[in-house]
Symmetry: C2
Subunit: 127 residues, 2 copies
DNA sequence: ATTATATGCAACTGACAGGTTGCAGTTCGT
DNA sequence: ACGAACTGCAACCTGTCAGTTGCATATAAT
């Protein structure tokens, strides 16, 4: 009982929103979802940089780690390479927060909330 | 057209997701939405801190500025005080991105996308 | 065995975010 | 007019984030 205040969130929303706050991370996530799993080395050659030089593999690795920490991706070791798979399920948490945030939104989106729970760890089968 | 690469987003999504990535900011936003407009000074006394000391007014002001920059709040001067009002309309952009991101999500959420546009624009007009 | 490819780890840099303090300028109330 | 309350601005501190480089290590192919 040392703590009786509302206590600032500190939940997964910080990691989720934080992960999505970076354009490179959003690019990677969409890339993994739409084109399937890929390795950090491979992604390094694909990510747009807004500069002329491409991003380093290590930079990508760090971004991927943040996505993994947020629960949005999962590394799978295949021989000497590590293949990252998108696991977009936690996005439902974000949508959930958004729909609970607006006053009229609540009215408008209430009926969808139940369906969002049916989203699974699909993204792309690990195979 | 000197640029033929996909060019990393750089859009409002960075500011939107970035604004929502902080628990204090989420608290303020919800506070403004649910309890109505308030001044920075007033909010300073309400925000949970996870520490024993409350946040400074200046800290709140900075948070509010970030929300304003993201289009999620709007300052209204009333005499000597500045009352901040929530303008949650841009959240539709976030939901929109989320619904366009998943493959099956698209199927599942496609029918809602049109309705999201009906959320009223209370203050997105920075111009 | 040797070489090429891919990941893992650590140190380092530059920039920005969150937060504080102090002070100056405005507006309200009496 | 005078003091109280509120906002605005600027400097400053600290930690974290994005990104890089260099090197070590593990696996695959020949």
């Amino acid at each position: 009982m040392t703590d009786e205040r509302p206590e600032v969130s500190r939940g997964p929303l910080d990691e989720l929103f934080g992960a999505l706050a970076d354009p490179t991370r959003r690019f990677i996530l969409q890339r993994l979802i739409h084109q399937g799993p890929a390795t950090a080395t491979h992604l390094a050659g694909e990510c747009p940089t807004s500069r002329d030089a491409p991003l380093t593999r290590q930079a990508i690795v760090k971004h991927l780690q943040i996505l993994v920490d947020a629960g949005l991706a999962r590394p799978v070791r295949v021989g000497r390479e590590v293949r990252y798979t998108a696991t977009p399920a936690p996005l439902a948490t974000v949508v959930s927060w958004l729909t609970e945030t607006g006053p009229r939104w609540d009215r408008r989106m209430e009926k969808f909330r139940g369906r969002l729970d049916t989203i699974d760890d699909q993204g792309t089968s690990t195979a």
